[in-house]
Symmetry: C2
C-alpha cells in the first residue's frame, strides 16, 4: 500500500496515490456532478467544446469518445487561437464549453472560458485547485480530489479528471449502470500495481530507445496520447501516437523491423481493430509492447504488459494510464533520468 | 512552366500542375459552391463534423480553423469509431457532415456520411472523383478538378480541396472580398516555384535527418500536419507536428541543440506567436527551417525558405503546402528514395 512504502521519487509516490485520489473524487464529487448533469439537460446543450493543453488535452480526447459513445454528443476541440488569435465570433450559445486545467491557471483555457461565457455558452471548469483562476472564469466547477501534485509529470490529476468526466457523462445520460461501474476503478488500479516488478525489469530493454509509436482506438486513444506525452516529458523519447485506424492509413509505411510500438489494447468494442493492427505489425516484425487484459492481444507481444480484467468498460483508460505511467517511470530510471525534474518544464505553463 | 518541362517523377509533375488544377477548380466549382452555401444558410446548420483520413484529414484541419474564423462555426472531427465501432446514436440533425476523400473510396468516411445522413444531418462529399462511391453516400457533392493524381503522395488533390473549402466558407459568410482574393493563389503558387533551385540544393543538408518537428499555428497548422505526413510517406522521416502553442506546453522540453524544426510561419494573425516560438527555439539552438514571407521569421532560420507575399490571408496554406511538397520531394531524392513509390502504401486505403 502507498502509505507503508518509501518512494524515491514524487512521481512514483503519486502514481501509487491514484486509487485513493479516485476514491476521494468519487465520494466528494458525485452529488455535485449529478446536479450539474441535470442542469445540462435543462439547458438543452447541442454540442461540447473542450479547451485544454498537455495532459488535460488528453483528458479532452477521452471526453470526445466518451460523450460521443454514451451521450451521442459531438465534442470539438476548442482551437483557442480562433478566439485569442483570430478573434472570431463563434456561434456557441447552445454549447457546453469545458475547460480543463489541473492547476487552474492555464491562461488560454481561462480565456476560452471567459470569451465563451460572454458568447452565451454554458461553461464548466474541471480542475484540481479549488479557488484557482479557472473557477472564477466558468459558471460551474468540477473538482478532482487528488491533493497537491508535486511531480511535474501529471499522473493522479489525469486519472481523476477522467473519472470526473466519466461521472458527468453517466449522470447526463442517466445511466446508473455506468455510475455504479466506476467504483471498480480504485481496486482495478491496485491490481494493476501487481505488474510493477515485471515492468521495472522489462523496461531495461528500452534503455536506448529514442522514439516509439503508441497506438490505441476509441476511449483508450486518450491513454495512448497521454503515455506518449509522459515518455516525451520524462524519458525524452520521441512519441508518435496514432489512432490505430489512422496509423494503418499511411504511417505504417515507415515501419522498420524492430521499431518499438506500444499498443494500448484492452478488451472492448475496439479490440477487433487492435488485433488487426497487431497482426499487421507482427508481420512487419515490429517490437510490440502490449498493454492489455486480452490474451489474444498479449500473445502478439514482444513484451506483454498484462493488466487485470477491465470489464470492456469506458473506465479502462484510467487503469491503462496507470500502467503507462509505471512504464514511463521505470524507463526514466533505466535511462538515468530524474522523472521528477524533466528538463525545461515547469508545473504550470502559461501559454501566450 | 509545367507544360514545357520533362519531369523525372510523377510527384514533381503533379506538384507543378497545381496552379492549373486550382484555376480549373475555381472556374468549374464556384457556382455550385455558391448554391450549396445558400442551401446551408437555409438549413440553419449549427455545427460541422468532418470525416477524413490521411491527407484529407489535414484538409479537415484547415476547415476547422477556416470555418471557425470566417463563419464562427465549430468544427469537430468525426471520430468514425463512434459510429463504426461503438455504434452511437449521435445527435447531429442540425449538423453539416463533410466527408473528404480524393479517391471517393475511403470506406469509413463513406460509412460516416451514410450513417449521418440517416440521422438527419446535411451531408456533403468533397472528392476529386465524380461518380465515386462517396458521391452516392452524400446529399451534396463538391468536386476538385485536379485530374487524375498518379503519384501515391497526394499533392494537387490536397491544395484544390483547400480551395473548395475556402470557397464554401467565403460564400457561406457572403464575403465577396474573400471569394475574390482566392484568385491570387495560382499566381502565388507559380511564384513559389522560384524557390525550387534553392530548395533542391539546400535539402541535401538533411540527407541523414531521421525525424523533425513541424510547427505552425492557425490555418497553417493544416500545412504543418500535411508536410509531416509527406515527410513520413516519401522520406521515412519521423515527423512531430504540433500547434506552436501546444509545443511550448511540454514537448519543447525534449529539444536538443541541432534538432531540426520546420516552422510554417507566413505573415498574418499568428505571426506573433510564431516569432515567439522561433526565438525560444533559437535560444535552444534548434536547426530551424523557416517557410515564410515574413522577413523577421526568415531571419531566425538556419535555412530560410522564402515565399512570395501571401497577403496575410486564409489562402496562404495552399502555397505553403506547395513549398512543403517541394521540400519533401527533393529530400526524398537526396535520400535516394523514389517519392512515387513509398514503401507499403497504396493510393486508396480501405480502413476497416
Amino acid at each position: 500500500m502507498a502509505a507503508n512504502r518509501e518512494y524515491t521519487h514524487l512521481m512514483l509516490k503519486e502514481i501509487h496515490e491514484q486509487p485513493q485520489a479516485m476514491r476521494e473524487t468519487l465520494a466528494q464529487e458525485s452529488n455535485r456532478i449529478s446536479d450539474l448533469a441535470a442542469e445540462i439537460r435543462r439547458r438543452r446543450v447541442r454540442f461540447i467544446i473542450v479547451a485544454a493543453r498537455g495532459t488535460s488535452d488528453n483528458a479532452a480526447t477521452y471526453a470526445r469518445y466518451l460523450f460521443g459513445a454514451v451521450n451521442g454528443m459531438v465534442v470539438a476541440p476548442a482551437a483557442p487561437s480562433l478566439l485569442t488569435v483570430y478573434g472570431s465570433k463563434m456561434q456557441i450559445e447552445d454549447a457546453l464549453v469545458l475547460g480543463i486545467s489541473q492547476s487552474g491557471k492555464a491562461t488560454d483555457v481561462i480565456e476560452v472560458l471567459e470569451v465563451s461565457r460572454g458568447l452565451g455558452a454554458m461553461t464548466v471548469a474541471l480542475t484540481n485547485q479549488d479557488h484557482s483562476p479557472i473557477c472564477q472564469a466558468a459558471e460551474h466547477v468540477l473538482l478532482t480530489h487528488a491533493d497537491e501534485e508535486k511531480s511535474v509529470a501529471a499522473t493522479k490529476t489525469f486519472t481523476t479528471a477522467l473519472a470526473a468526466l466519466y461521472l458527468l457523462s453517466a449522470y447526463w445520460a442517466e445511466r446508473q449502470d455506468l455510475v455504479d461501474a466506476i467504483h471498480q476503478v480504485p481496486e482495478a488500479m491496485e491490481q494493476a500495481f501487481d505488474i510493477e516488478p515485471w515492468m521495472a525489469s522489462r523496461t531495461e530493454r528500452y534503455r536506448y530507445m529514442e522514439a516509439c509509436t503508441v497506438l490505441a482506438r476509441g476511449v483508450n486513444f486518450a491513454t495512448a496520447l497521454e503515455i506518449g506525452l509522459k515518455l516525451a516529458e520524462c524519458c525524452y523519447v520521441t512519441p508518435q501516437p496514432f489512432s490505430a485506424a489512422d496509423y494503418m492509413h499511411g504511417p505504417i509505411a515507415a515501419l522498420e523491423p524492430g521499431w518499438p510500438v506500444l499498443l494500448i489494447a484492452p478488451g472492448g468494442p475496439s479490440i477487433g481493430s487492435m488485433l488487426e493492427v497487431g497482426e499487421a505489425l507482427k508481420e512487419r516484425k515490429a517490437e510490440m509492447i502490449v498493454f492489455s487484459d486480452d490474451d489474444d492481444a498479449l500473445s502478439l507481444a514482444t513484451v506483454p504488459m498484462k493488466l487485470p480484467y477491465l470489464g470492456k468498460s469506458y473506465w479502462s483508460p484510467m487503469v491503462t494510464a496507470v500502467a503507462g505511467q509505471l512504464f514511463t517511470y521505470y524507463l526514466a530510471i533505466h535511462k538515468g533520468l530524474d522523472p521528477d525534474r524533466p528538463r525545461g518544464l515547469t508545473k504550470v505553463t502559461l501559454t501566450y
